[in-house]
């Protein structure tokens, strides 16, 4: 018995030891991929998106590794919903990816908290669109390089318009009132389609406010006036009252269902506002050749208010052990036609003029139309700067307060005040 128990104890000890060595062997195996093959440097590149993007990105990374045999890139992919949680946790654990994708609303959050490296002089940027590039600056430092650009625009479904016997308007001169009128006529046309639908993206309000001479973000404050917010809500209220846009509960459902389920994409709606890089997916879903239009204007507006927004940025971790390699990867992704000919417009249309010239003919027809559209409106665009910290929450704050007003839970006056105080608190915090 005594022998038995001693035996048992040794067995346990051996087992424990065995488990521990196996575990550490596994850990070493996955962690030291590069270590085994000579003096390869391994860097991690994090990004979010669809399966299609993952495939393209993996191809591009492979190309990069071919060109730089001494560097091994590990793509760290996740879907959009969990991307920032994952990234923030990694940054907190001092395990930040060397190269991180960040969108404009998260830029100040990460740059301001010291997570990002200044890329000025490290990533060649002479051929990039300088105005767009400057949106990657926070407090004068180039923390981020734009991947490509989008414009928030009005999309129209010609087949739905035709069914309700309406014509595409002249988007150079149309006003919000005309747009509302058109939406009402479409809904009243009896074709069963809605004239318009709601997109909670603050970009719409930003454009609307710019036309009234107000900035969404004015330094570290919200530059919107109560009147502007109310006027903006009034558009939705008019549309809903006339049944020219879905009631708020239906809107909420459409939003959770995603772009492919939107009225526009299911040929159940005539017009909607989207980022230009969504044209592709929406066109595919609807099977129609959707039209890109300028946003309507305020009567007598000083500016069109539209702007080019980088789809996302490449940034490098401030704590990366391989800053040179990280910079090299970013350089490849934005400046090398080889990368662009794989990625095309997946991360927005490239802003590098040389790259663009090289891949222009390879772009699918939808992208070529977007490119032509952006060229056409180029002279009317407003400059863009990175919004302050807390901007990541803006869409939620705006949507919540918009819902309260549209559901009739509060008055537009009280709602606007509440939105301003919440929004200001978010960016001050």
């Amino acid at each position: 018995m005594s022998l038995g128990s001693r035996k048992k104890m040794w067995t346990v000890a051996f087992l424990t030891a065995a488990v521990m060595t196996t575990a550490s062997a596994c850990g070493g195996g996955s962690g030291g991929d590069g270590g085994g093959s000579g003096d390869k440097v391994k860097i991690v590149f994090s990004y979010w998106g669809s399966d299609a993007r993952q495939k393209l990105t993996e191809q591009a990374l492979k190309k990069f590794e071919e060109k730089n045999p001494a560097i091994d890139v590990e793509g760290d992919f996740s879907n959009w919903d969990s991307y920032y949680e994952k990234l923030a946790t990694k940054v907190a654990a001092n395990d930040a990816p060397d190269v991180m994708s960040i969108e404009i609303r998260g830029l100040s959050e990460y740059a301001g908290r010291g997570a990002l490296a200044d890329l000025a002089g490290k990533v060649p940027s002479a051929d990039l669109d300088q105005q767009v590039l400057s949106s990657g600056q926070v407090e004068g430092k180039q923390y981020a390089v734009p991947t490509g650009v989008n414009a928030f625009s009005m999309l129209a479904n010609p087949s739905v318009l035709e069914k309700s016997k309406q014509k595409l308007p002249d988007d150079k001169t149309w006003t919000w009132d005309q747009w509302i009128g058109l939406a009402k006529q479409i809904s009243a046309g009896g074709g069963g389609a809605m004239g318009a639908e709601y997109n909670p993206n603050p970009a719409w309000l930003q454009i609307f406010a710019a036309q009234r001479g107000e900035k969404f973000y004015d330094g570290n404050k919200i530059g919107l006036s109560v009147d502007t917010i109310k006027a903006w809500w009034n558009i939705s209220q008019q549309l809903i009252a006339a049944k020219a846009a879905p009631e708020p509960a239906k809107s909420a459902e459409l939003l959770t269902a995603g772009p492919e389920q939107s009225l526009l994409a299911t040929n159940a709606g005539a017009m909607g506002m989207w980022w230009s890089n969504q044209l592709n997916a929406l066109s595919k879903a609807s099977g129609q050749e959707l039209e890109l239009l300028r946003m309507p204007r305020q009567k007598g507006a000083p500016t069109a208010g539209m702007f080019l927004q980088p789809a996302m940025y490449y940034t490098a971790s401030a704590k990366s052990e391989h800053p040179a390699e990280a910079a090299k990867l970013i350089d490849f992704l934005v400046n090398d036609p080889d990368a662009a000919s794989i990625l095309l417009s997946d991360r927005g249309l490239p802003t590098n003029s040389k790259v663009l010239a090289a891949v222009k003919d390879k772009l699918p027809p939808v992208d070529q139309r977007t490119l032509a559209f952006i060229d056409e409106i180029k002279g009317e665009l407003s400059p863009i700067t990175a919004p302050p910290k807390g901007a990541l929450q803006m869409e939620d704050i705006l949507k919540r307060n918009t819902d309260e007003v549209l559901f009739g839970k509060t008055t537009p006056d009280a709602g606007a005040q509440k939105f301003l105080s919440e929004a200001n608190a978010a960016i001050a915090g």
Partner: protein, 317 residues
């Protein structure tokens, strides 16, 4: 293993034994500790460590991206004085618990009583009714719920047959919480199974005696079943209150992650998550976690105190 441990404890407690046996017991204890070691390691590294760390963090403005600095009780003060959404989340969660737990338990008890009447194929029904409990907290069911109670969902399609035009149940602020309460009630299987076991414990002879005395079924239920079942009801109540205060998945998925529409489904844990991972106020989120712990501990304490007055343990009287 447990046995050998308590044995060795009693040995050290004073009984003199021959040294050989003593050494043997010690070795056995050691064996036990070796086996327990992984669990202890897990407990301290994965559970106790983070719990203490979160207590510390709750007094800082830790943002997840940067180190925090000590802010004293600021987070706790802010919660109750400046944060309307915190109070909203507390209100929403309380309504959810207060409405859904009694409903769920009543429903579970009702079904348990029905199933206890010697139904054929009992184990089949038991499994069927237990199924929702396994699935209720899952993402798939939450997504199904969203579809079921949408504007063009199945529920409204059924209503339409009767000429009723239903709202978008999950996306209307007046009804969204109701759908989540319904979802919770639907997961009545777990307490039902426990009730069933409890009902089996009640000696049949009590009922026979009552029948002889001419007591009606209702009277039998009130005077025999219910009193003897109170410990089970109490157990289920405590368990379900704790569980439903911590509900997260339902509101996260059904509302699309923001507690909407208009914060009508903003559960406490969802707001905690939004604060920690969306607003980068991890210190604040940690403080919220501790407040939740205190709330649950307090409620459980109250439950236990109150139980003296209504829970009947057969052996105490």
């Amino acid at each position: 293993m447990h046995e050998s441990m308590s044995d060795s404890l009693s040995v050290t407690a004073g009984h003199r034994r021959p040294p050989a046996v003593n050494a043997h017991k010690k070795r056995e204890a050691l064996t036990a500790y070796v086996f327990l070691a992984p669990w202890f390691l897990g407990l301290f590294v994965i559970t106790v460590g983070p719990i203490l760390a979160s207590l510390y963090l709750s007094f800082t403005d830790y943002s997840l991206l940067e180190e925090g600095s000590w802010v004293g009780a600021d987070n706790y003060v802010k919660m109750f004085t400046q944060d309307d959404r915190f109070l909203t989340s507390l209100k929403v969660t309380t309504i959810y618990v207060v409405v859904s737990v009694p409903l769920q338990l009543a429903f579970a008890l009702l079904l348990a009583l029905a199933l206890d009447r010697g139904l054929r194929g009992l184990s089949f029904y038991r499994s069927i009714y237990y199924l929702p409990s396994l699935l209720g907290g899952s993402v798939a069911i939450a997504i199904l719920w969203r579809k079921l109670f949408g504007v063009d969902g199945l529920f409204n399609a059924v209503l339409a047959v009767f000429g009723i035009e239903g709202p978008g149940w999950v996306s209307d602020p007046d009804t969204a919480l109701g759908t989540l309460i319904l979802l919770h009630v639907w997961t009545f299987g777990a307490p039902m199974v426990i009730f069933l076991a409890g009902l089996r414990q009640i000696p049949q002879s009590y009922y026979e005696a009552a029948s002889v005395d001419g007591a009606s079924r209702l009277r039998q239920f009130r005077s025999i079943t219910l009193p003897l079942l109170t410990p089970i009801i109490f157990f289920n109540l405590v368990l379900e209150v704790i569980k439903s205060f911590q509900s997260f998945t339902q509101s996260f998925i059904v509302s699309g992650g923001n507690g909407g529409p208009v914060d009508s489904t903003l559960f406490y844990t969802l707001y905690l998550y939004l604060k920690g991972f969306k607003s980068y106020e991890m210190g604040y989120a940690a403080a919220m976690a501790w407040v939740l712990l205190l709330i649950i501990a307090g409620l459980t304490g109250v439950n236990f105190l109150a139980s003296k007055y209504w829970v009947f343990y057969g052996d105490t009287k």
